[in-house]
Amino acid sequence: MTPQLIIFFALAALAVGGAISLILQKHPIHSALSLIVVMVSLAGLYLLMGAEFVAAVQIIVYGGAIMVLFVFVIMLLNAGIEEHTSLSKLAGVPGLLLALALTGFIAATIARSTDTVQAAAQPGNMASTRDLSAMIFKDFVYPFELTSFLILVAILGAIVLAQREKARA
């Protein structure tokens, strides 16, 4: 048991625990806080894998911006404890079975392709953030520019949707 493996299992347990807590919590704000735990532990896993830039972006954009937006909307709409009807409780039983079947199927596929993944692993050093930036701004420059357009459209969409009530009045 190397120290790396211990850190991996601690972070993995934190992530899975946060995800289970997201399901079990009744109030959306508690679910949001559980999701932040999952995101921060995933950032730790990225650091463990040597992807420093992705870890930083994970914390700044996911843990910071997106989750603040979620918490903001939960508080703005004054979301309360969610209500379950008897029908939705009934639908949970086949839902649980289907989700378990899906997870089992994915896990079985991964377990079967273990050798292929390990064989495809190439020796060499992990590339740095400098290489990552060169890749984004050289090889992926057109997709990168397209994402800025996507963000622009998303801003316009959010403004138009949120303003609709005022325009009608």
């Binding site: 992530a15 899975v16 995101m39 969610e82 190439q122 990552l132 963000i151 998303a154």
Partner: protein, 100 residues
């Protein structure tokens, strides 16, 4: 060195939990959060394979996924605000205008 399989297994478990939350939750914001959980699980698999192959394409894709998730969160939450204004509720079972 941690085997890539461990990371991908963890990613599969998190994705399954995301699907479970998507099915179980009745609050529209919680359902939206379970989608974010699934996106995060996929990102973990991307970075794990990127590390295994010693290629950076996976990490670049993760950055694009994060950008798309941010855009999706902005538009989706605006839609949630509008529907909750119209329906006075965040329960997805109340949003049934298209139901027969």
């Amino acid at each position: 060195m941690i085997p890539t399989n461990y990371y991908v297994m963890l990613s599969a478990i998190l994705f399954g939990l995301g699907v479970l939350a998507f099915i179980f939750k009745r609050n529209v914001i919680s359902i939206f959060m379970s989608i974010e959980l699934m996106l995060n699980a996929v990102n973990l698999a991307f970075v794990a394979f990127s590390q295994a192959m010693h290629k950076l394409d996976g990490q670049v894709f993760v950055l694009f996924v994060i950008v798309v998730a941010a855009a999706e969160a902005a538009v989706g939450l605006a839609i949630i605000i509008v529907t909750s204004r119209n329906r006075q509720s965040l329960n997805v079972e109340r949003v049934d205008l298209l139901k027969l």
